[in-house]
């Protein structure tokens, strides 16, 4: 399975080369085989006797992070969706995207997304899952911003990334808490410890964090605002990421963790409420849109809400319906997106106000859209899969385990949301394909799309019809296993079309059709309601003002200290150092003082020290270049003298030589540099500098005394003294350390000096050239 996950990534590495070398052949043709073969690989697992498979590859075993792949019914459903729809989308994109586009980029992003998505649905390790999860956000960001020259694309890309990554980070927090509580990183192991998690004090927090991740990813109310803006992506991407796969990652996450949380009342309330509100709000808002893809975006939001609500119910019937609808939604919504792409491609616009009467011009597309929209609306016809899942949904709302007020309300809200679903489905179909033709308003003269572009939606619509005609065909081998992974008590459901007139879900469906039709026909008359709700109440406004405030405030904070004054930066760094170090010393009782084991004090040393101290202080007050230089020389030679006294002949020698050269160098430069001036700092500023300088010096002295007074480890120098001759063959231990034991350090030291010499040379040389010009 690791190959299935990583193959898209591997192929992605070669795409840039292929797309350059074979410019005559569309890059998509190479890409197509990747998801297609993965689909063929996984389709063989479909069968009644399927059992979950588990494979482990070590990655970071010390942290419990391994590439654990776990294929159960739920993963299988998603893997087949990702690879199946992926193949169709790539096929469709071959005809949708022109060869002039940057195809290399497009397919690299798309393959990156496939790897990420396979990783999300197959990982059993929460941290690996999180990694792939964020990778889907990043690839989605790149794909939405594919046409990066458009301002709307960049806005949409950024918005989707900010919202989904915010959710992803919350989810990560939830995962960390989960793994701390259960002491494992495996999801299956967590499920087996569900009682530990359910009795934990952190349960509400964990649930909230993980749900945030799922709700942002699956565009649930009020985080749905990123999905309509994500429609700036090329249509194949919208069909793939933003309707069939990525937005269902949140659903997948909820389904995956359902076995843990389903026993918790808060889970039912939150997930069902958010789901059902999203269903109503999404479908209500869809009717208002004028852009074809925006209608589909809100429709996706509302359908995702419906699946989310069913997972929230958690009953066996609801879970089964949810899994069934995941598949159905992918078929009809995928085909509708592709049809919307065809209309855009062939007419040059997606504005439904300019479109109309295209049935005769685009007959095949129109037929496909007919099946897609009617299935989405849940029209009770025996060859539309959308109707079955909608009926199962209604059935599930009537049979809730909870007895709260919310449970009473849910069937009514479900019907309300479905009425609007019906309205926007009709609006989409009849708005585009019937009514008066307005060909003069269209940028292009419309004609039927090339056959290649139609293949993918045709296959998807065939799926709609086949599932509709034989709804129970894939139950036992496929859907059943997926439902079992979510709720182990899931029972076999025979889906049938007719249950008799008195079957309540059928009555609900009929109410939806009748009221929906009425609302659709009188749409113009009640459209004023959108001025009241949402009116000015818009979550986009909240998002926009948040983002712009964030920009202003962070710029303000940065500007307050990034003034360009190096002195200020230096002071800030030093003050931080002093405060942090001394407070740590204070709080940990780091300061120690012991007067034992000290060397004796002699007059010579003390006089050298006093001379040096006076000289060092004098550097501050000198006003003459030469005087400053001489004083600095005094300090330098004083250090050399101390080295002699403390039996360090090598460094004393080096210090004398270096000090002499430095003094010579200073003399050379002083001649060219302006005279030292008396500082023109104000008194306060001087005082500040003095305080910083003195406290830093005092801090260093204190650290030194503490270090000298504590003896935590044996000195390691004995090793050098013992082995100097044996290993290095030299009597001078310092030299042996430098050239032998730490030879590489010395080599790099020489390199540093060389670089400094080159820099100095070029600094001087540069001027000569300039003068010559």
């Amino acid at each position: 399975m690791i190959f299935a996950v990583l193959i898209p990534l591997l192929v992605a590495c070669f795409i840039p080369t292929i797309s350059k070398a074979k410019s005559k052949i569309h890059t998509g043709i190479f890409t197509f085989f990747v998801p297609f073969f993965i689909f063929l690989y996984f389709i063989r697992f479909v069968g009644e006797d399927f059992t979950p498979i588990r494979q482990t590859y070590n990655w970071i075993p010390s942290l419990g992070i391994n590439l654990d792949f776990y294929l159960d019914g739920l993963s299988l459903l998603f893997v087949l969706l990702i690879s199946g729809i992926g193949s169709l989308v790539v096929l469709y994109s071959i005809f949708y995207l022109d060869k002039q586009e940057r195809l290399g980029h497009f397919y690299v992003y798309l393959l990156l997304f496939m790897t990420a998505m396979f990783g999300v649905v197959l990982s059993d390790n929460v941290f690996v899952l999180y990694t792939f999860w964020e990778l889907t956000s990043i690839s989605s960001f790149l794909l939405i911003g594919y046409w990066h020259f458009k301002e709307r694309s960049r806005y949409g890309a950024l918005k989707s990334m900010l919202i989904t990554i915010f959710g992803g980070l919350s989810m990560f927090g939830g995962f960390i808490l989960l793994s701390v509580i259960t002491n494992t990183t495996s999801i299956q192991a967590m499920i087996s410890q569900a009682d530990v998690i359910l009795s934990s004090d952190y349960l509400p927090l964990i649930l909230a964090l993980i749900l945030l991740g799922a709700f942002t990813k699956s565009a649930q109310f009020p985080f749905h605002i990123w999905l309509p803006d994500a429609m700036e992506a090329p249509t194949p991407v919208s069909a793939y990421l933003h309707s069939a796969t990525m937005v269902k990652a949140g659903i997948f996450l909820i389904a995956r963790f359902s076995p843990i949380f389903s026993g918790y009342e808060g889970f039912f309330i939150t997930v069902s409420l958010v789901g059902i509100v999203t269903l109503c709000w999404g479908s209500y808002m869809a009717v208002r849109q004028t852009d074809l893809k925006a209608i589909l975006a809100f429709s996706t939001i509302s359908q995702l809400g419906m699946i989310m609500a069913m997972l929230g119910f958690g009953t066996t019937a609801a879970v089964f319906a949810a899994v069934f609808h995941i598949l159905n939604h992918a078929t009809f919504k995928g085909s509708l997106f592709m049809v919307a792409g065809i209309i855009d491609h062939e007419t040059g616009t997606r504005d439904i106000r300019k479109l109309g009467g295209l049935f005769t011009l685009l007959p095949i597309s129109a037929t496909l859209a007919l099946f897609g929209t009617f299935s989405m609306a849940g029209v009770p016809l025996p060859f539309l899969n959308g109707f079955y899942s909608k009926e199962l949904f209604f059935d599930a709302t009537l049979d809730l385990e909870s007895a709260s007020l919310l449970a009473e309300l849910i069937p009514y809200l479900a019907v309300l949301g479905s009425i609007f679903t019906f309205v926007y489905s009709m609006y989409f179909f009849f708005g585009v394909f019937t009514g008066p033709k307005q060909l003069n308003q269209l940028p292009k003269k419309p004609h039927e799309a090339p056959f290649g572009m139609l293949v993918s939606p045709i296959i998807l619509v065939l799926g709609v019809i086949l599932i509709g005609l034989f709804p129970s065909m894939i139950n036992a081998p496929f859907i059943q296993h997926a439902a079992e992974a979510v709720n182990s008590n899931a029972e076999y459901h025979k889906i049938s079309f007719w249950h008799g007139w008195a079957y309540p879900p059928l009555i609900m469906s009929l109410i939806v059709v009748v009221l929906g039709l009425a609302l659709f026909l009188t749409r113009k008359k009640w459209s004023g309601i959108y001025k009241v709700l949402p009116g000015k109440l818009s979550f986009n406004r909240v998002y926009n003002s948040l983002i712009s405030k964030l920009d202003t405030y962070s710029a303000g904070i940065t500007n307050s200290y990034m003034t360009g004054s190096l002195k200020l930066y230096m002071s800030l760094i030093l003050v931080t150092m002093i405060v942090v170090t001394t407070s740590i010393m204070l709080f940990t009782n780091g300061f120690t003082f012991s007067a034992s084991n000290l060397a004796d004090i002699t007059v010579i040393e003390v006089s050298v020290v006093i001379i040096m101290a006076v000289a060092a202080i004098a550097t501050i007050f000198t006003k003459h270049n030469m005087a400053a230089l001489l004083i600095l020389g005094v300090v330098g030679y004083g250090v050399a003298l101390l080295f002699v006294i403390y039996r360090a002949p090598d460094i004393a020698l080096t210090q004398f030589v270096v000090e002499t050269i430095t003094v010579a160098l200073f003399i050379l430069c002083f001649y060219h540099l302006p005279k030292l001036r008396k500082t023109d700092d104000s008194g306060g500023s001087k005082l500040m500098n003095a305080v910083i300088a003195i406290s830093f010096g005092a801090m260093m002295t204190l650290i030194g005394i503490s270090a000298h007074s504590t003896n935590l480890f044996d000195v390691i120098s004995d090793y050098f003294l013992e082995t100097s001759y044996k290993l290095g063959g030299g009597d001078n231990v310092v030299n042996v350390i430098l050239v032998d034991m730490r030879g590489l350090d010395t080599l790099f030291e020489i390199a540093v000096l060389g670089i400094a010499a080159l820099a100095i040379f070029s600094l001087i040389k540069l001027k000569k050239n300039k003068e010559a010009e």
Binding site: D600, R647, I651, T662, A698, H708, V734, L738, L763
Partner: protein, 112 residues
């Protein structure tokens, strides 16, 4: 004696920092030179002072001073020499180009 040397090293650090916080480039260079002197004395003291003969193996001698700080300081002297010379030349060039050696005037332009 170690404590006296550490106090001296503290004084060197303090004067170095004070010089570093000045506006004139030359003072900053002097500051870095003082800083390295202070650091060298600091490192030397960490190995305790006058504990024996210079670390050159001789027959009949068993007590030596700690060779490790000396090796570190030797490296450091050379590096700080490189740094000081580079800074000097840099200061010289900066002054030539910008006609000022005042750091507060060398801020670059806005949005740069």
């Amino acid at each position: 004696m170690e404590i006296i040397i550490l106090i001296l090293s503290g004084i060197l650090f303090a004067t170095a920092i004070y010089n570093l916080l000045q506006k004139q480039l030359l003072r900053i260079v002097i500051g870095t030179a003082l800083l390295s002197h202070g650091a060298h004395l600091f490192i030397l003291t960490m190995g305790k002072l006058k504990t024996g003969q210079p670390p050159i193996l001789t027959d009949g001698v068993s007590e030596y001073t700690d060779p490790l700080p000396q090796a570190l300081i030797l490296t450091s002297i050379v590096i700080s020499f490189g740094v000081t010379s580079l800074l000097l030349v840099l200061a010289y060039r900066t002054t030539q180009e910008n006609k000022t050696d005042n750091m507060e005037q060398l801020r670059g332009k806005a949005n740069e």
